[in-house]
Symmetry: C2
Subunit: 206 residues, 2 copies
């Protein structure tokens, strides 16, 4: 029985999930986008930053998202940015299937993250991720283009967008190029916290 | 004592407030965007469509927005589309200041809407709207470009966006060209209803 295929991202009110250049990751707009994530206890724990951090709904939402994920699919752009930024103990702790043209042996990190490099496209990566996830769910980790490719191919069952109180004005738009004639949304839930509004939708075909 | 300057619009999850062409107004995506509005009792009352319609929070939110508005500012594009679509008793019931190059005498409609045509820009229109609104608020009615012009000029105090469960893929983006280096947001409130999530922000200068 295959698990749910989902994604979960932070989005600015104007629809951006990342700055134009990955050099602006960690810039002030990015910090405002992720302001519901960084103070949490889960974020600190998961990156090995030590004790402390806030509990509450934002923390619980991150924890639930992590717990349901049995494997992830990731694009090359996100992997390249992450490879420079993640600590040695990468924060996934599951298999991660990276869609890339680069041929590379699996890269095992301490703490259970294993990056597998898939050269034959998103369908194949997703199939491998489903098998690896067992009865847990598959997360399309990102970036924006990889997520959208899965949405337009009808491969995403459900997604969550944390809308943060920030306007980017430029960058990577989550839904740029979405096939609106095909993709319909159904609200699963909408939950405001003090730092973001967590919107969850099921994806339906029109 | 000047009232608050605000706007209140329905936005698709991917950031659009109108379709590309005003001929697509009343198309299926537009109906999904406005799905929290059309079934309400207020919507029917205000357009003179007769009795009936749903009560509840969506209805109350529309009613509150109408009640606080003493005057509106409107762009030429919205006025032109509306002039073709509004019933004789236009749904504003207050003075409306239309920013346009067209010189035209005030146009009084039954039911209290009076359109004034302002030829010397948004600052002048807003000043006249403030004076007309008395101690009530001024609404920047739309369209998207006119709203953004006010936001970027630092003239908007507060706004509400009803995020509807629909993806447009194309059209008029609310925040296209926003001056993100200048505009910061503070969450005032976030309220989900079954048909939309109502996000209200105060605008701050960075």
């Amino acid at each position: 029985m295959a698990g749910t295929v989902f994604f979960s991202v932070s989005m600015s009110l104007d629809g951006f999930v990342a700055p134009e250049s990955s050099e602006d990751l960690m810039g002030p707009l990015w910090m405002e986008l992720q302001q519901w994530v960084f103070p949490t206890r889960f974020f600190r724990e998961n990156l090995g930053l030590g004790e402390g951090g806030e509990e509450g709904r934002d923390d619980a939402i991150l924890r639930e998202t992590f717990a349901r994920t049995g494997a992830s699919v990731m694009g090359k752009r996100m992997f390249d940015a992450g490879e420079r930024m993640w600590p040695e103990e990468a924060p996934f702790h599951t298999p991660v299937f990276v869609v890339t043209h680069e041929e590379r042996d699996p890269w095992e990190r301490p703490g259970g993250t294993v990056f597998h490099f898939v050269n034959d496209g998103i369908g194949s990566a997703l199939e491998q991720a489903r098998a690896a996830a067992g009865d847990r769910d598959v997360r399309i980790a990102g970036g924006g283009a990889t997520i959208l490719e899965h949405v337009n191919a009808g491969l995403v069952d459900e997604f969550s967008v944390a809308v943060s109180p920030v306007l980017f004005g430029a960058g990577v738009r989550l839904f740029e190029g979405v096939d609106a004639a095909r993709v319909a949304l159904e609200v699963v839930r909408s939950e405001p916290t003090p730092r973001a509004t967590h919107l969850t939708y099921a994806v339906r075909e029109r």
